[in-house]
Amino acid sequence: MGYETIIVEKKNQIARITLNRPQALNALNETMGEELKAALKEAERDPETRCLIITGAGRAFSAGEDVSGLKERYAGGAHPSLGDHLRKKYHPIILGIRNMEKPIIARINGIAAGSGASIALACDIRIASEEAGLKQAFIGVGLVPDSGSSYFLTRTLGPGRALELIMTGRTVGAKEAETLGLVNKTVPTAELDKTVDEMAEKLANGPTKALGLSKRVVNQAARLELSDALEYEAQNQEIAGRTKDHLEAVRAFLEKRQPKFSGN
């Protein structure tokens, strides 16, 4: 499928989605919103895709919502319905990332601001270059965090530190983001590709079903009590225990060799 504002490349069972409006710091206009949604759906359905990378072209990851459309939307002092805008444009993207039962890496090559930060935070693993940063840009335009930012930040940092970032809107540099646990790893820019690709390759060759189920149980863990979480783990372990990859791993262990996972 041909896209206008994103690039999708598939290689070695890894799909790489590049937000590609570098002149606009990869801000999400309506087309990019639709295309990202479509690309996520495509990756989910494609059995040949066993790992995803989301990244940005040029010097930014994504500056978030495209404000160039503001003029029309606010013409004559109108109040556009931002709630509906979010529900339609961003919620399917964020849920598409969280609910896809495949590992997704955010390759944060530069600034990730506003809903761009939300997209990075929704991914399973974040690897940032030293030049990157995360910014809760919402308060600067008189708005609250959206597209999952409040949810992800609060769960990662606790309410105190989440609110500091939300209320000040300051840019958290990649090094600090690593210390805070907002990104998994920050590496020199020259090493970004190598680090991301190694991680992606490892995940793409992993037991995909179990990786997906792991994501499922972690997603649910946030809303369950311990006894329910234990039950939910047991149900999913039952499923993982029936995969070919599990048997392969056990066999490999007994034969003292590395397992070869098929993803089934």
């Binding site: 189920l213 499922r216 149900q235 999913n236 039952e238 499923i239």
Partner: protein
């Protein structure tokens, strides 16, 4: 018996009915419904079968009535043909029906699901009564059973907006017994069905009857009905066996007598 729209498996003590029109998300036409009713009635008569599982596939239990079949109907047609009477036969099935439900469960599909006695849902199940979107309303028990199950206000919203709810919401509101991963709902339903199949069949039957009676009677009458069924069970061999096994600390051997 051969069926065109369902697959039927006899796996004593279970009977299993799969709705099988996958190309149309198991849309419910009268033929499909007739087959379901006949298969359930056949299991009801078969002594080897203790519990029936009613299921669709992962994508759809049933996405609702076959619109084509109804779009030209007039009230006179509907009255004369009286095909909806099939739903009344469904209500008379005496053995427990476990719904193993995933995917779209809409309109007539949701109404069929609500005819089950216990529902195990997959996380991907969605329940709704979207009839209002095409200018009609639920016609096979939706307004009554949904209201009695999830309450007036939630039922009203679902029926007047046509907006479906997720499996988790359905669980929260008591429309399903529990929600499990999509890979597991059928097995989970089977486990539960086997558990019930171990119980004394006559007791299971009379207990189901008494629970369903509560929908049709004032409390006093329902209590009298319950007591009669309770007394009746003291005439069964299984009751003697059950109590004897309990005092002898061994599992009972029920015979359905």
């Amino acid at each position: 018996m051969t069926y065109a729209n369902i697959l039927v498996q006899t796996e004593p003590p279970l009977g299993i009915i799969h709705l099988n029109r996958p190309k149309v998300l198991n849309a419910l036409n009268f033929e499909l419904l007739r087959e379901v009713v006949e298969a359930l009635e056949a299991f009801d008569k078969d002594d080897r079968t203790r519990v029936t599982i009613l299921t669709g596939n992962d994508d759809a239990f049933s996405a609702g009535a076959d619109i084509k079949e109804l779009s030209e109907a007039t009230p006179v047609d509907l009255i004369k043909e009286n095909k909806f009477a099939l739903w009344d036969r469904l209500k008379k099935i005496a053995k427990p029906i476990i719904g193993a439900i995933s995917g779209h469960t809409l309109g007539g599909g949701c109404e069929l699901a609500m005819n089950c006695d216990i529902i195990i849902a997959s996380e991907t199940a969605r329940f709704g009564q979207p009839e209002i979107n095409i200018g009609i309303m639920p016609g096979a028990g939706g307004t009554q059973r949904l209201t009695r199950t999830i309450g007036k206000f939630r039922a009203m919203e679902m029926i007047l907006t046509g907006q479906p709810i997720t499996a988790r919401e359905a669980e929260k509101h008591g429309l399903v017994n529990r929600v499990v991963p999509v890979e597991a709902y059928f097995e989970e339903a089977k486990k539960l069905a086997l558990q019930i199949a171990q119980k004394a069949p006559i007791a299971v039957r009379l207990a189901k009857e008494a629970v369903l009676k509560s929908f049709d009677t004032p409390l006093e009458e329902g209590l009298q009905f319950e007591r009669r069924n309770f007394y009746l069970l003291f005439s069964t061999e299984d009751m003697r066996e059950g109590m004897k096994a309990f005092t002898e600390k061994r599992p009972p051997q029920f015979k359905g007598r």
